[in-house]
Structures are given as C-alpha cells and as structure tokens.
C-alpha cells in the first residue's frame, strides 16, 4: 500500500497509538488489579496500596476458599452445567440448523418462521418460570440447561454457514448412496469446524457466565453455580464467614477478626472469570466470520 508521509499523517499515527494505549490500560488495569489484590496481604488491600502487582504476596485467600469448600463445589457445579448444557446446545442447534439449511426440505419455510417468531415475541419471565415449575424441573440442573437448549441467533449463524457450503459435496455423496444423516455426520460436520468452535465457545461462555436461571430455579445452595456464589459473596456482601467456612460457626468466629476479606472476594472473582479468559484467545480467529454472519443476515 502506498504510504502517506505528511505531517498530518504522523499526527494521526500518534493520536491513534495514544488512543489504543489508553484502551489497553482501561481494559487490562481492572483485570490485573483483581489478580494482584487476590494475592496481596490484608493491610495492603485495606489501605489501597495494591495496583497491578501483589504486595505482601500470599495465597492465603485461595487456601481459605479451597478449605471452605463452597467455591470448589460451585466451580464443579458450573463445570457440570456447562458441559451438559453445551452438549445439548450443540446437538440441538447443529442438527436443526443443518436440516433447515437444505433447500429441498419440504416445510422449510414453515420451520424457519416457527424458529424466528420467538426472537421478536416471547412469553416473558413469569410464564417461562411457571412452565419450568410445572414441568418439575425446578431445583435441578435441567432447569438451567433445557430452557436454553438452543439460541436462535446461533441457529441462524449455523444455518447460514451450512447454506454456503458447496452443493456438489452433497450431490456426489448422494450418488454414492449416502442418506442425509450420513452426509451431515460424515461430510458436513468435519467441514464446519470453524463455525462449530465459534458457536461452541458462545454457548460455553453463556453457560459458564449464567446466574439468573440458577437464582430463580435453584433452592439448594449445594447446587449453586459459581456465578451465583460470586454474586452472594461479592455483590450482596453476604456474611463472609458463611461463604468461606460454610456454616462452621466456631471456626468463623476464630478467624473473622484477622481475615483478608478483600483478597477472598477478589480471589473468588478470579476463579469465576479466569476459565473463560483462558479459552477465548484460542478460538478468536473464527469470531469475525461468526459475528458477521449472525448480525447481518439475522
């Protein structure tokens, strides 16, 4: 590309770099501050001395969380809900999207309309809540994974992707006597890794970060996912003893005086956000395609 070497161009360059550095700092500082604080001593945290480097380095907050058991249990719950939820999501969404992407499918138009209408009009919070109740799903994992078994947006992204696959592949397989199911599993899915990774990540993030269904459908605190525990401990600032020692009152009395409450809260925040922050950079090169298809052809 031809380059403009004028002064105004240099000024623009400086301005752009400046803005981008500010963006980097504003985005990264809060996250680094969380990590640093979760590893800092009590006094450093209470006096606000911590920036993005831990002061009086200690892992006691993580040890406390580990020993108390509430957070590890919630972490495992989240892993379980995410694994089951994403499996259901992918099975339902890929097969539905593939079927609706085949132009020779009779009733295709009707099915598509059936799928699109709920994007614009839904029953709303209360009827959904009562339906889940009536189905007997309340207070179980199924209340979290079944009502969100398919996202319409993700369905549209996948359908558009499948539609754009070359038709010759399918035709030659048909001549060899393969049925639609075989074509889908043996030919289409292996060619669709990019979209499967992207949608899989979208679903994973959605399940891992979900808290509201858990709040309205789950009663037993043993079943709570991590995000709900996070909300209780950090936002509602519930009694830290309860969260950290899960009801052992004597032990709670013993350490509450000298406990590093701030670090504990930051540590829970870290545990809650870290898994997704570690996953997304690996899948991000597929994002642009997925987001483009989803937002323009919806």
């Amino acid at each position: 590309m031809v380059r403009d070497k004028s002064i105004s161009s240099k000024i623009l360059d400086i301005f752009v770099y400046l803005v981008m550095f500010v963006v980097l700092i504003i985005t990264l500082y809060p996250v680094l501050h969380i990590f640093a604080s979760s590893l800092s001593g009590r006094i450093a945290n209470e006096t606000g001395a911590v920036t993005i480097f831990p002061i009086d380095f200690t892992v006691e907050a993580y040890q406390m969380i580990w020993n108390a058991g509430t957070v590890p249990n919630a972490f495992l719950n989240s892993v379980q809900y995410t694994a089951v939820g994403v499996t259901i999501n992918m099975l339902v969404t890929t097969s539905f999207a593939y079927a609706l992407s085949r132009k020779h499918l009779p009733l295709r138009g009707l099915y598509t309309i059936i799928a699109i209408i709920p994007m614009y009009f839904s029953g709303g919070l209360v009827p959904t809540f009562m339906l889940v109740n009536n189905l007997g799903l309340t207070n179980s994992m199924w209340a979290l994974v079944l009502p969100s078994a398919m996202s319409i947006t993700n369905f549209i992204i996948m359908r558009t992707f499948f539609q754009n696959l070359p038709a010759e592949l399918e035709e030659s397989a048909k001549l060899d006597g393969a049925n639609d199911f075989t074509i889908f599993v043996r030919i289409v899915l292996p060619l669709s890794k990019a979209v499967l990774y992207t949608i899989g990540l979208f679903y994973t993030v959605a399940h891992w970060n979900s808290w509201f269904p858990a709040m309205i459908y789950l009663r037993d605190s043993d079943l709570f996912p991590l995000q709900l525990v996070l909300r209780q401990v950090v936002i509602l600032a519930e009694d830290i003893r309860e969260a950290a020692i899960s009801g052992d009152f004597a032990a709670g009395e013993a350490f509450i005086a000298g406990v590093n409450v701030i670090a504990i809260r930051y540590a829970i925040l870290c545990v809650a956000i870290l898994p997704m922050l570690l996953i997304y950079p690996f899948v991000q090169r597929h994002f642009i395609k997925g987001v483009m298809i989803g937002s323009l052809k919806g």
Binding site: V2, S6, V23, L277
Partner: protein, 331 residues
C-alpha cells in the same frame, strides 16, 4: 398466458403418466407427491425434530401462559379455572404510582446507550483501521474482546469492589482529589452513569468486530488511488472508510432504536438496590419483583405483555422509517 396445443398435450401426458405410476405404487398413491418428498427427506425431519420440540415447549409454551395477563390467576385453579378480568391488570399498571417512572427510566437508559455506547465501537474500529503495526493491532483487538467474556456478576462485582467507599481504588482517587468518598452504588444520581460506563467497558471491543470486518473488506485500490490523488488520511477515513461501514451502522442503529423500551433485567438487577430505585427501577426489574417476589403473576405478565407490544410497535416504526430514508431495513 397462452399455452400452445403441444404444451397442453404434454401436460395431459404428464398427468397420465404420474397417475399411472400412482396406481402401480400403492404407497405413493396414498401419500401423493408431497408425501413422497417428505419421505425422501425423512432424515432431515428427524434432525429438525429436537429443535422443533424445544421451540414448541420452551418458546411457544410460555406464550400460552400470556393468557394470565387477562386473568386473576390462581395457581390452584390453573389457566382454565382462573377468573377472566379483561384488561384490569393493564389498567392497574397504567394507574400504578410508578408507571411513568418505570417508562422514563427504561427509555432514558436506552437513549443513553444509543448516544454514548453505540458510537464508541465505530470510532474504535475506524482508529484501529489506521493502526499500522500488525502485531500491535492484533494485540489491541484480542485484549478488547476480553471484557465480553467476563460474567455480569463479575463485572458488577468488580464495580462494587472498585467503588467501595472504604477500600476501592476509584474512591481512593476521589478521596485524593476531593477529600471525600462517594458511595456510588447507593446514590440514584450515579446509577445511569455507572450503567453506561460499565456497558462501554464491556461491549466496546466485541461490538467493533462487525465494523472491523466491514473495513477489512474495503478494496485497497480505493485507498491507493486516493493517495495518488493527494488525499490525506483523515480525508480517506471520511470519504472511504466511513461510507463503507455506513450500511452496517444504519442497520445496527435501527436495531438499537427498535429496542428503545426493551432493557434486560439481568444487569440492572445486579446493580440496583432499593436506595437507587428512583433511577434504577426499569420495567423488566419491576416485572421480576412483581412476578417472582410478590407472586402477583397476572399483574407481572400484563406488564411484560404491554412492554412486548410496545417493543414490536417501535421496531416496526423504526424499520418503516429506515426503509423510506435509505435502502437498508431489517426485513
């Protein structure tokens, strides 16, 4: 339409031939052509089945529950046994002392979103497009996606911690300059600003993807010939880059305007507390409180039906205007 004699003969021949086939094949004669096509695509229908069942139960099932809005619903009696009251629940909402407050709060936050949250990703994408270092560009982009992957409770949790009047770092900065601390989360006048600022932080990078993609699709020859014609980079931004993403901007702006009265409950619910209700209580959180906390099912459903109807109305109007003003529209 005029058919030639030959064509008519051909059609009659076709009908006869198919008729003959139908008589020889008993299965086909029962199902007909449509049935045969359904049978040939049976595996596809099987693949579509889980999705259809899901939609029937969890997307259309609740729609039936919307009838509650016109009833004095009692769980014991169910939808068929409960008393029908017409529009009483709606009238109760219109006469509710907080009716206008709810509408106003919902609309103001959405207007702020359009004014402040919407343009930032566009500016970010345009500036990123001017960045020359490839690795630095990729780094900035990757980092800018990061907040999108942080959960809502974690984002609000971070806000609560950073804004804490006793030890949050933001309040320490405030204290350094003014000698006072501010209890941000408990003051109604701060709610909207906090909502919008955290929204910008969370969505900027992710929302910019679509503009970045549109910009990367611009033909480089356009820029090259502009340079030869002596155009400055700022001029190229204005006359090449901006027009190339304009259709995307219009569609997304349209979507934003279409959701003027539509604000999800999750984030507000996490941020609000009774102290800030005067600015933070919006229609969706009101529905949540009335429905799931006060258990006034009929009333809550009526409020959300009212909101849905308005939302669809606004979307249709926005779309009509867009179609008149430009070629771009949603449908």
């Amino acid at each position: 339409m005029v058919l030639t004699f030959v064509e008519i003969c051909y059609i009659i021949y076709e009908i006869n031939m198919n008729g003959l086939c139908d008589m020889t094949d008993a299965k086909n004669s029962k199902l007909g052509i449509f049935g045969r096509r359904m049978y040939e695509t049976r595996y596809l229908h099987l693949l579509a089945l889980p999705g259809l069942v899901y939609l029937a139960i969890f997307a259309y099932g609740p729609m039936y529950g919307v009838l509650m809005a016109f009833q004095n619903f009692r769980s014991r009696l169910g939808i068929w046994g409960s008393e029908w009251v017409g529009f009483d629940n709606f009238i109760r909402f219109f006469e509710h002392p907080h009716f206008w407050r709810l509408i106003q709060n919902t609309v103001i936050i959405n207007v702020y979103q359009i004014l402040f949250v919407f343009p930032i990703p566009i500016i970010f994408a345009l500036l990123l497009n001017e960045l020359r270092g490839r690795y630095f560009k990729r780094t900035v982009q990757t980092v800018s996606y990061l907040p999108n992957f942080i959960s809502m409770p974690a984002i609000i949790g971070m806000m609560v911690m950073f804004l804490s009047p006793t030890d949050g770092f933001i309040n320490q900065i405030v204290y350094f300059f003014t000698g006072n601390t501010v209890h941000f989360m408990a003051q109604p006048e701060w709610f909207r600003s906090l909502y919008i600022m955290s929204e910008i932080w969370t969505t900027m990078g992710w929302s910019a993807i679509i503009y970045i993609a549109a910009l990367s699709g611009v033909n480089p020859e356009l820029y090259e010939s502009a340079v030869i014609d002596g155009a400055r980079r700022t001029q190229m931004m204005r006359h090449i880059s901006v027009p190339s993403i304009a259709p995307t901007i219009i569609i997304l702006l349209l979507l934003n305007i279409g959701t003027l009265m539509n604000l999800g409950h999750e984030k507000v619910l996490l941020m609000q507390n009774p102290l800030t209700f005067s600015t933070s209580d919006v229609i969706s959180t009101f529905v949540f409180r009335m429905g799931l906390e006060m258990l006034d099912y009929s009333f809550a459903t009526a409020v959300s039906v009212f909101n849905s109807v308005i939302n669809i109305g606004i979307l249709v109007i926005a779309n009509t205007i867009a179609r008149k003003v430009s070629d771009t529209s949603l449908w």
